[in-house]
Amino acid sequence: METSDIIGNIFLIAGAFFIFTGAAGILRMPDFFSRLHPAGIGDALGLPLAMIGVMIHAGPGLITIKIAILVVFAMVTSATACHALAKAALISGVKPTGYISKNVDIKENQAFDKDKKAEI
């Protein structure tokens, strides 16, 4: 086994680790907005590391240029898609878990105070 194969394998295993971490986060996170974060990890760390591994395996040539273009496209489009998803969800009214609106909270507190005074 040559040195380039070993280095490429290290990059491939690192990429697979980050892709698995991102998938576990997408499956297990409690909330849509927190699920965006592991999705960004899988796209922005896992894919480039795995592609760098493939690049080192193949050696210099046309494959290197194609994979470089692929990595640049993937990083630009994943960030854009994540931003579009987050903005669309925020506009359409998806609430994070544990989110407490300030206005509702103040009204409830006032009502609670009135009831308390009435009781007293």
């Binding site: 697979a16 699920r35 796209d43």
Partner: protein
């Protein structure tokens, strides 16, 4: 040997993302999981090109990445405006 392990891990991740794509509570969870599934498909196609030593698969991976992005934006726009533009 390492290549087969990496492909197995990516396939397992695709299965986990697919579970979220099926049972996601909101519509945006479905779209996010589908987008992530497409990214993992790109990774698998590139790994296959390294395994078979065929450069042609990299072109397919490139086109798949672009189609994946366009599909995500198009689905989002369709659900927001109920159309894909002026007809």
């Amino acid at each position: 040997m390492v290549m087969y392990i990496v492909i197995s891990i990516v396939l397992l991740s695709m299965g986990m993302v697919l579970v979220r794509a099926i049972k996601g509570p909101t519509m945006y969870d479905h779209i996010l999981a589908a987008n992530s599934f497409g990214t993992k498909t790109v990774v698998i196609i590139a790994l296959m090109s390294d395994l078979i030593k065929d450069t042609m698969y990299l072109d397919i991976a490139l086109v798949y990445a672009l189609v994946n992005f366009i599909a995500t934006i198009a689905i989002l726009k369709y659900f927001k405006y109920q159309s894909l533009g002026k007809s």
